[in-house]
Protein backbone atom coordinates (compact mmCIF):
# COMPACT_ATOMS: atom_id res chain seq x y z
CA UNK A 1 0.00 0.00 0.00
CA UNK A 2 1.32 3.42 -0.98
CA UNK A 3 0.15 5.20 2.15
CA UNK A 4 2.40 7.75 3.78
CA UNK A 5 1.82 10.11 6.65
CA UNK A 6 3.57 13.11 5.12
CA UNK A 7 3.09 14.04 1.48
CA UNK A 8 4.69 17.29 0.19
CA UNK A 9 1.63 17.74 -2.02
CA UNK A 10 -0.51 18.11 1.11
CA UNK A 11 1.22 21.37 1.99
CA UNK A 12 -0.36 22.96 -1.08
CA UNK A 13 -3.75 21.86 0.22
CA UNK A 14 -3.29 23.59 3.58
CA UNK A 15 -5.88 26.21 2.64
CA UNK A 16 -8.46 23.45 2.11
CA UNK A 17 -8.85 23.02 5.87
CA UNK A 18 -11.54 25.70 5.59
CA UNK A 19 -13.67 23.12 3.79
CA UNK A 20 -14.68 21.52 7.11
CA UNK A 21 -14.71 24.68 9.25
CA UNK A 22 -14.71 27.84 7.21
CA UNK A 23 -15.04 30.51 9.86
CA UNK A 24 -12.20 29.35 12.08
CA UNK A 25 -10.02 28.46 9.08
CA UNK A 26 -10.49 31.90 7.55
CA UNK A 27 -9.69 33.54 10.87
CA UNK A 28 -6.55 31.47 11.24
CA UNK A 29 -5.24 32.32 7.77
CA UNK A 30 -5.98 35.99 8.21
CA UNK A 31 -4.10 35.93 11.51
CA UNK A 32 -1.26 33.89 9.97
CA UNK A 33 -0.87 36.38 7.14
CA UNK A 34 -0.78 39.30 9.56
CA UNK A 35 1.83 37.62 11.76
CA UNK A 36 4.29 37.39 8.87
CA UNK A 37 3.83 40.95 7.66
CA UNK A 38 6.68 43.39 8.18
CA UNK A 39 6.29 44.79 11.71
CA UNK A 40 8.57 45.45 14.66
CA UNK A 41 10.44 42.45 13.25
CA UNK A 42 11.33 42.23 9.56
CA UNK A 43 9.91 39.51 7.31
CA UNK A 44 13.41 38.11 7.17
CA UNK A 45 13.73 37.89 10.95
CA UNK A 46 10.31 36.27 11.19
CA UNK A 47 11.26 33.72 8.53
CA UNK A 48 14.38 32.75 10.51
CA UNK A 49 12.35 32.39 13.72
CA UNK A 50 9.81 30.26 11.85
CA UNK A 51 12.60 28.08 10.46
CA UNK A 52 13.99 27.51 13.97
CA UNK A 53 10.54 26.73 15.39
CA UNK A 54 9.84 24.36 12.47
CA UNK A 55 12.83 22.30 13.60
CA UNK A 56 11.72 22.26 17.23
CA UNK A 57 8.24 21.04 16.33
CA UNK A 58 9.81 18.85 13.61
CA UNK A 59 7.16 19.69 11.06
CA UNK A 60 8.33 18.63 7.59
CA UNK A 61 5.87 20.95 5.88
CA UNK A 62 7.11 23.93 7.88
CA UNK A 63 10.77 23.01 7.31
CA UNK A 64 10.25 22.94 3.52
CA UNK A 65 8.17 26.10 3.55
CA UNK A 66 10.52 28.15 5.72
CA UNK A 67 13.67 26.88 4.03
CA UNK A 68 12.21 28.28 0.83
CA UNK A 69 11.12 31.47 2.57
CA UNK A 70 14.48 32.13 4.24
CA UNK A 71 16.27 31.56 0.92
CA UNK A 72 13.90 34.04 -0.71
CA UNK A 73 14.51 36.54 2.07
CA UNK A 74 18.24 36.44 1.31
CA UNK A 75 19.43 34.41 4.29
CA UNK A 76 22.70 32.56 3.83
CA UNK A 77 23.26 28.88 4.60
CA UNK A 78 25.26 29.87 7.69
CA UNK A 79 22.43 32.02 9.02
CA UNK A 80 19.88 29.29 8.43
CA UNK A 81 21.99 26.67 10.19
CA UNK A 82 22.67 29.03 13.09
CA UNK A 83 18.91 29.43 13.50
CA UNK A 84 18.61 25.63 13.70
CA UNK A 85 21.38 25.58 16.31
CA UNK A 86 19.51 28.18 18.36
CA UNK A 87 16.48 25.88 18.25
CA UNK A 88 18.67 22.92 19.19
CA UNK A 89 20.31 24.77 22.06
CA UNK A 90 16.98 25.77 23.55
CA UNK A 91 15.55 22.31 23.05
CA UNK A 92 18.62 20.61 24.51
CA UNK A 93 18.86 23.19 27.27
CA UNK A 94 15.28 22.60 28.26
CA UNK A 95 16.13 18.93 28.89
CA UNK A 96 19.34 19.70 30.65
CA UNK A 97 17.88 22.33 32.96
CA UNK A 98 15.60 19.58 34.33
CA UNK A 99 18.81 18.01 35.53
CA UNK A 100 18.56 20.48 38.40
CA UNK A 101 15.27 18.89 39.41
CA UNK A 102 16.95 15.49 39.28
CA UNK A 103 19.84 16.79 41.38
CA UNK A 104 17.42 18.28 43.92
CA UNK A 105 15.64 14.95 44.22
CA UNK A 106 18.92 13.03 44.51
CA UNK A 107 20.08 15.36 47.25
CA UNK A 108 16.76 15.03 49.08
CA UNK A 109 16.81 11.26 48.93
CA UNK A 110 20.47 10.74 49.64
CA UNK A 111 22.23 10.63 53.00
Amino acid sequence: MDKKYYDPEDLKKFGDVTEFQKELGDKFFEYYGSVFEEGALTKREKALIALAVAHVIQCPYCIDAYTDETLQQGCSEEQMMEAVHVATAIRGGSSLVHGVQMMNQVKKLSM
Binding site: K43, R44, L71, Q72, Q73, G74, S76, E77
Partner: protein, 348 residues
Amino acid sequence: MKSLIAQSHSLADPEVQLDIINNQTEKVKRLEKFESKMDEIGLFPLKPTGIEIFQINVGYMCNMTCKHCHVDAGPDRQEIMTKETLEYCLDALEHSDIETVDLTGGAPEMNPHFRWFVDEVAKLRKDIIVRSNLTILDTRKFEDLPQFMADHGVEITCSLPFYNRRRTDAQRGEGTYDKSMKVLKILNEIGYGKEESGLELNLVYNPVGAFLPGDQESLKQQYKDRLWKDHGIEFNDLFTITNLPISRYLNFLVTSGNLDEYMEKLVTSFNPAAAEGVMCRNTISIGWDGTLYDCDFNQMLKMETENGSPQHIKDWDLDALNDREIITNQHCYGCTAGAGSSCGGATT
Protein backbone atom coordinates in the same frame (compact mmCIF):
# COMPACT_ATOMS: atom_id res chain seq x y z
CA MET B 1 32.18 24.23 -19.19
CA LYS B 2 30.80 24.31 -22.71
CA SER B 3 27.59 26.00 -23.79
CA LEU B 4 24.57 23.75 -24.38
CA ILE B 5 24.86 24.42 -28.10
CA ALA B 6 28.53 23.34 -28.15
CA GLN B 7 27.54 20.16 -26.32
CA SER B 8 24.82 19.54 -28.97
CA HIS B 9 22.47 19.37 -25.99
CA SER B 10 18.78 18.96 -26.82
CA LEU B 11 17.97 21.97 -24.63
CA ALA B 12 19.89 24.24 -26.98
CA ASP B 13 16.83 23.95 -29.22
CA PRO B 14 14.15 26.57 -28.39
CA GLU B 15 11.39 24.24 -29.62
CA VAL B 16 12.48 21.62 -27.10
CA GLN B 17 12.54 24.23 -24.33
CA LEU B 18 9.04 25.42 -25.14
CA ASP B 19 7.82 21.85 -25.27
CA ILE B 20 9.27 21.14 -21.83
CA ILE B 21 7.68 24.14 -20.12
CA ASN B 22 4.35 23.35 -21.75
CA ASN B 23 4.19 19.56 -21.85
CA GLN B 24 7.00 17.83 -19.95
CA THR B 25 4.84 16.38 -17.18
CA GLU B 26 1.15 16.05 -16.35
CA LYS B 27 1.55 18.78 -13.73
CA VAL B 28 3.16 21.21 -16.14
CA LYS B 29 0.50 20.45 -18.74
CA ARG B 30 -2.26 21.24 -16.25
CA LEU B 31 -0.91 24.72 -15.44
CA GLU B 32 -3.04 27.53 -16.79
CA LYS B 33 -1.70 29.00 -20.01
CA PHE B 34 -0.13 32.44 -19.67
CA GLU B 35 -2.37 33.88 -22.38
CA SER B 36 -5.48 32.74 -20.55
CA LYS B 37 -4.22 34.22 -17.26
CA MET B 38 -3.56 37.54 -19.00
CA ASP B 39 -6.96 37.40 -20.68
CA GLU B 40 -8.64 37.09 -17.26
CA ILE B 41 -7.21 40.46 -16.25
CA GLY B 42 -7.82 42.14 -19.61
CA LEU B 43 -4.20 42.10 -20.77
CA PHE B 44 -4.50 39.77 -23.73
CA PRO B 45 -3.35 40.42 -26.34
CA LEU B 46 -0.50 42.19 -24.58
CA LYS B 47 0.32 45.55 -26.16
CA PRO B 48 3.27 47.92 -25.66
CA THR B 49 2.86 51.04 -23.58
CA GLY B 50 5.51 52.70 -25.75
CA ILE B 51 9.12 51.75 -26.36
CA GLU B 52 11.47 53.57 -24.00
CA ILE B 53 14.35 51.10 -23.78
CA PHE B 54 16.40 49.93 -26.76
CA GLN B 55 18.11 46.76 -25.58
CA ILE B 56 20.80 45.44 -27.89
CA ASN B 57 22.29 42.02 -27.48
CA VAL B 58 25.66 42.66 -29.12
CA GLY B 59 26.72 39.02 -29.03
CA TYR B 60 26.52 35.74 -27.18
CA MET B 61 30.27 35.43 -26.58
CA CYS B 62 31.24 35.56 -22.92
CA ASN B 63 34.28 34.77 -20.81
CA MET B 64 32.00 32.87 -18.41
CA THR B 65 29.55 29.97 -18.61
CA CYS B 66 27.22 30.53 -15.69
CA LYS B 67 24.90 27.70 -14.73
CA HIS B 68 21.73 29.76 -14.95
CA CYS B 69 22.50 31.72 -18.14
CA HIS B 70 19.37 32.20 -20.26
CA VAL B 71 21.54 33.15 -23.23
CA ASP B 72 23.64 29.97 -23.10
CA ALA B 73 26.57 32.34 -23.51
CA GLY B 74 30.19 31.30 -23.29
CA PRO B 75 33.64 31.50 -24.86
CA ASP B 76 32.55 29.07 -27.57
CA ARG B 77 29.71 31.27 -28.86
CA GLN B 78 30.61 33.05 -32.09
CA GLU B 79 27.48 35.14 -32.64
CA ILE B 80 28.62 38.79 -32.58
CA MET B 81 26.81 41.87 -33.87
CA THR B 82 28.58 43.37 -36.88
CA LYS B 83 29.41 47.05 -37.31
CA GLU B 84 26.87 47.22 -40.11
CA THR B 85 24.07 46.06 -37.78
CA LEU B 86 25.27 48.45 -35.07
CA GLU B 87 25.02 51.23 -37.65
CA TYR B 88 21.39 50.28 -38.30
CA CYS B 89 20.85 50.57 -34.54
CA LEU B 90 22.42 54.03 -34.49
CA ASP B 91 20.23 55.08 -37.37
CA ALA B 92 17.10 53.89 -35.54
CA LEU B 93 18.20 55.69 -32.37
CA GLU B 94 18.97 58.89 -34.20
CA HIS B 95 15.45 59.02 -35.57
CA SER B 96 13.58 58.29 -32.36
CA ASP B 97 13.18 59.86 -28.96
CA ILE B 98 14.08 56.64 -27.13
CA GLU B 99 16.31 57.73 -24.26
CA THR B 100 17.85 54.52 -22.95
CA VAL B 101 20.22 52.18 -24.74
CA ASP B 102 20.83 48.95 -22.85
CA LEU B 103 23.80 46.85 -23.99
CA THR B 104 23.78 43.19 -23.09
CA GLY B 105 25.29 39.89 -24.21
CA GLY B 106 27.17 37.57 -23.52
CA ALA B 107 29.75 39.96 -22.28
CA PRO B 108 28.91 43.08 -24.34
CA GLU B 109 32.45 44.35 -23.82
CA MET B 110 33.71 41.49 -26.02
CA ASN B 111 32.08 42.87 -29.15
CA PRO B 112 35.04 44.30 -31.14
CA HIS B 113 33.03 47.45 -31.94
CA PHE B 114 31.97 48.07 -28.34
CA ARG B 115 34.05 51.20 -27.73
CA TRP B 116 33.19 52.75 -31.07
CA PHE B 117 29.51 52.07 -30.52
CA VAL B 118 29.42 53.50 -26.98
CA ASP B 119 31.16 56.58 -28.30
CA GLU B 120 28.57 57.00 -31.07
CA VAL B 121 25.60 56.47 -28.77
CA ALA B 122 27.03 58.97 -26.28
CA LYS B 123 27.16 61.54 -29.10
CA LEU B 124 23.40 61.04 -29.52
CA ARG B 125 23.04 61.99 -25.83
CA LYS B 126 21.28 58.76 -24.91
CA ASP B 127 21.52 57.12 -21.50
CA ILE B 128 23.72 54.04 -21.84
CA ILE B 129 23.50 50.95 -19.65
CA VAL B 130 26.14 48.24 -19.94
CA ARG B 131 25.29 44.85 -18.41
CA SER B 132 28.64 43.61 -17.21
CA ASN B 133 29.59 40.31 -15.63
CA LEU B 134 32.40 42.20 -13.78
CA THR B 135 35.02 39.47 -14.29
CA ILE B 136 35.65 40.56 -17.89
CA LEU B 137 36.96 43.85 -16.48
CA ASP B 138 39.60 41.89 -14.59
CA THR B 139 41.36 40.88 -17.82
CA ARG B 140 44.27 42.79 -19.36
CA LYS B 141 42.45 43.45 -22.62
CA PHE B 142 39.55 45.13 -20.87
CA GLU B 143 41.07 46.62 -17.74
CA ASP B 144 40.89 50.18 -19.09
CA LEU B 145 37.18 49.89 -19.79
CA PRO B 146 35.97 51.11 -16.37
CA GLN B 147 37.59 54.50 -17.03
CA PHE B 148 36.32 54.50 -20.63
CA MET B 149 32.79 53.86 -19.39
CA ALA B 150 33.12 56.53 -16.71
CA ASP B 151 34.28 59.02 -19.33
CA HIS B 152 31.15 58.29 -21.35
CA GLY B 153 28.80 58.42 -18.35
CA VAL B 154 27.82 54.79 -18.83
CA GLU B 155 25.62 53.21 -16.16
CA ILE B 156 27.05 49.83 -15.17
CA THR B 157 24.61 47.15 -14.13
CA CYS B 158 26.42 44.05 -13.07
CA SER B 159 25.69 40.54 -11.98
CA LEU B 160 26.25 39.56 -8.38
CA PRO B 161 23.80 36.80 -7.53
CA PHE B 162 24.57 36.89 -3.81
CA TYR B 163 26.58 38.83 -1.29
CA ASN B 164 28.70 35.85 -0.34
CA ARG B 165 31.28 33.64 -2.06
CA ARG B 166 29.50 30.32 -1.66
CA ARG B 167 26.41 31.12 -3.69
CA THR B 168 28.06 33.45 -6.17
CA ASP B 169 30.66 30.86 -7.11
CA ALA B 170 28.09 28.06 -7.13
CA GLN B 171 26.26 29.81 -9.93
CA ARG B 172 29.00 31.64 -11.80
CA GLY B 173 32.07 29.49 -11.27
CA GLU B 174 34.94 29.19 -8.82
CA GLY B 175 36.81 32.46 -8.23
CA THR B 176 34.01 34.69 -9.55
CA TYR B 177 33.26 36.27 -6.18
CA ASP B 178 36.84 37.35 -5.51
CA LYS B 179 37.26 38.77 -9.02
CA SER B 180 33.94 40.58 -8.70
CA MET B 181 34.97 42.17 -5.40
CA LYS B 182 38.26 43.28 -6.97
CA VAL B 183 36.49 44.92 -9.91
CA LEU B 184 33.82 46.54 -7.74
CA LYS B 185 36.61 48.17 -5.70
CA ILE B 186 38.21 49.49 -8.90
CA LEU B 187 34.83 50.86 -10.02
CA ASN B 188 34.38 52.53 -6.63
CA GLU B 189 37.84 54.07 -6.90
CA ILE B 190 36.95 55.87 -10.12
CA GLY B 191 33.67 57.08 -8.63
CA TYR B 192 31.17 54.39 -9.61
CA GLY B 193 28.61 53.76 -6.88
CA LYS B 194 29.42 56.97 -5.02
CA GLU B 195 26.33 59.09 -4.49
CA GLU B 196 27.89 62.39 -5.56
CA SER B 197 29.72 61.16 -8.68
CA GLY B 198 26.75 60.65 -10.99
CA LEU B 199 28.28 57.33 -12.04
CA GLU B 200 25.63 54.67 -11.48
CA LEU B 201 26.69 51.22 -10.35
CA ASN B 202 23.85 48.79 -9.90
CA LEU B 203 23.94 45.15 -8.89
CA VAL B 204 21.71 42.35 -10.08
CA TYR B 205 20.52 39.68 -7.66
CA ASN B 206 19.07 36.49 -9.00
CA PRO B 207 18.28 33.43 -6.91
CA VAL B 208 20.94 30.73 -6.87
CA GLY B 209 18.47 27.87 -7.07
CA ALA B 210 14.83 27.02 -7.61
CA PHE B 211 13.27 29.79 -5.56
CA LEU B 212 11.94 33.28 -6.19
CA PRO B 213 13.62 36.55 -5.24
CA GLY B 214 12.54 38.11 -1.96
CA ASP B 215 11.81 41.75 -1.28
CA GLN B 216 14.11 43.95 -3.37
CA GLU B 217 14.52 46.68 -0.75
CA SER B 218 15.37 44.21 2.01
CA LEU B 219 17.92 42.42 -0.20
CA LYS B 220 19.45 45.74 -1.22
CA GLN B 221 19.94 46.61 2.45
CA GLN B 222 21.52 43.21 3.16
CA TYR B 223 23.90 43.64 0.21
CA LYS B 224 24.75 47.18 1.30
CA ASP B 225 25.54 46.05 4.84
CA ARG B 226 27.56 42.99 3.89
CA LEU B 227 29.55 44.45 0.98
CA TRP B 228 30.43 47.52 3.01
CA LYS B 229 31.39 45.59 6.16
CA ASP B 230 33.25 42.80 4.35
CA HIS B 231 34.89 44.76 1.53
CA GLY B 232 34.22 48.50 1.89
CA ILE B 233 32.24 48.38 -1.38
CA GLU B 234 29.46 50.82 -2.29
CA PHE B 235 26.83 50.67 -5.00
CA ASN B 236 23.68 52.58 -5.93
CA ASP B 237 20.87 50.13 -6.42
CA LEU B 238 20.08 46.44 -6.44
CA PHE B 239 17.73 44.84 -8.96
CA THR B 240 16.10 41.50 -8.18
CA ILE B 241 15.53 39.33 -11.23
CA THR B 242 13.58 36.07 -11.33
CA ASN B 243 15.19 33.22 -13.24
CA LEU B 244 13.07 32.35 -16.25
CA PRO B 245 12.67 28.65 -17.08
CA ILE B 246 14.68 28.60 -20.30
CA SER B 247 18.09 27.47 -21.53
CA ARG B 248 20.66 26.56 -18.85
CA TYR B 249 18.38 27.44 -15.97
CA LEU B 250 15.75 25.16 -17.47
CA ASN B 251 18.41 22.47 -17.70
CA PHE B 252 19.08 22.94 -13.98
CA LEU B 253 15.35 22.68 -13.19
CA VAL B 254 14.98 19.48 -15.19
CA THR B 255 18.12 17.73 -13.95
CA SER B 256 17.55 18.70 -10.30
CA GLY B 257 13.92 17.55 -10.35
CA ASN B 258 12.61 21.05 -9.66
CA LEU B 259 10.71 21.75 -12.88
CA ASP B 260 7.17 21.00 -11.68
CA GLU B 261 7.54 22.83 -8.40
CA TYR B 262 9.18 25.87 -9.96
CA MET B 263 6.63 26.23 -12.75
CA GLU B 264 3.85 25.84 -10.23
CA LYS B 265 5.46 28.45 -8.01
CA LEU B 266 5.65 30.92 -10.89
CA VAL B 267 2.01 30.37 -11.82
CA THR B 268 0.64 30.53 -8.28
CA SER B 269 2.66 33.70 -7.64
CA PHE B 270 1.11 35.47 -10.66
CA ASN B 271 0.60 39.09 -9.73
CA PRO B 272 -1.74 41.19 -11.93
CA ALA B 273 0.11 44.39 -10.95
CA ALA B 274 3.39 42.85 -12.11
CA ALA B 275 1.68 41.74 -15.33
CA GLU B 276 0.63 45.32 -15.94
CA GLY B 277 4.24 46.48 -15.72
CA VAL B 278 6.13 43.79 -17.66
CA MET B 279 9.23 45.16 -19.37
CA CYS B 280 8.29 43.97 -22.87
CA ARG B 281 5.70 46.75 -22.90
CA ASN B 282 8.37 49.46 -22.91
CA THR B 283 11.40 47.62 -24.30
CA ILE B 284 12.51 46.32 -27.68
CA SER B 285 15.21 43.70 -27.91
CA ILE B 286 17.59 43.61 -30.85
CA GLY B 287 19.41 40.34 -31.54
CA TRP B 288 23.03 40.06 -32.63
CA ASP B 289 21.94 39.66 -36.26
CA GLY B 290 19.50 42.59 -36.11
CA THR B 291 16.35 40.54 -35.58
CA LEU B 292 13.77 42.21 -33.33
CA TYR B 293 12.21 40.55 -30.29
CA ASP B 294 9.88 41.57 -27.48
CA CYS B 295 12.55 40.81 -24.88
CA ASP B 296 15.92 39.12 -24.44
CA PHE B 297 14.19 35.91 -23.27
CA ASN B 298 12.03 35.72 -26.39
CA GLN B 299 15.22 36.33 -28.35
CA MET B 300 16.78 33.19 -26.87
CA LEU B 301 13.62 31.24 -27.69
CA LYS B 302 13.75 32.66 -31.24
CA MET B 303 10.25 34.10 -30.80
CA GLU B 304 10.46 37.11 -33.10
CA THR B 305 8.21 40.17 -32.91
CA GLU B 306 4.73 39.69 -34.29
CA ASN B 307 4.52 38.73 -37.91
CA GLY B 308 3.46 41.83 -39.81
CA SER B 309 5.29 44.25 -37.54
CA PRO B 310 8.96 45.15 -38.22
CA GLN B 311 11.12 42.08 -37.54
CA HIS B 312 14.58 43.45 -38.32
CA ILE B 313 16.38 46.61 -37.27
CA LYS B 314 16.72 47.53 -40.97
CA ASP B 315 12.93 47.91 -41.03
CA TRP B 316 12.76 50.03 -37.88
CA ASP B 317 9.38 51.75 -37.52
CA LEU B 318 8.65 52.93 -34.00
CA ASP B 319 4.94 53.57 -34.58
CA ALA B 320 4.43 50.12 -36.08
CA LEU B 321 6.38 48.49 -33.23
CA ASN B 322 4.38 50.37 -30.63
CA ASP B 323 1.26 48.93 -32.22
CA ARG B 324 2.39 45.29 -32.28
CA GLU B 325 1.08 42.42 -30.19
CA ILE B 326 3.66 41.00 -27.80
CA ILE B 327 4.39 37.29 -28.18
CA THR B 328 4.12 35.30 -24.96
CA ASN B 329 4.44 31.74 -23.67
CA GLN B 330 4.71 29.93 -20.34
CA HIS B 331 8.16 31.36 -19.54
CA CYS B 332 6.53 34.80 -19.23
CA TYR B 333 5.19 33.77 -15.80
CA GLY B 334 8.76 34.51 -14.63
CA CYS B 335 8.20 38.23 -15.13
CA THR B 336 4.77 38.30 -13.48
CA ALA B 337 5.53 36.33 -10.30
CA GLY B 338 5.56 38.05 -6.92
CA ALA B 339 6.84 41.60 -7.10
CA GLY B 340 7.51 41.14 -10.83
CA SER B 341 10.81 40.97 -12.63
CA SER B 342 12.53 42.93 -15.35
CA CYS B 343 16.03 43.98 -16.38
CA GLY B 344 15.48 46.88 -13.99
CA GLY B 345 14.40 44.62 -11.13
CA ALA B 346 11.01 44.32 -9.43
CA THR B 347 8.16 46.02 -11.28
CA THR B 348 5.70 46.68 -8.45
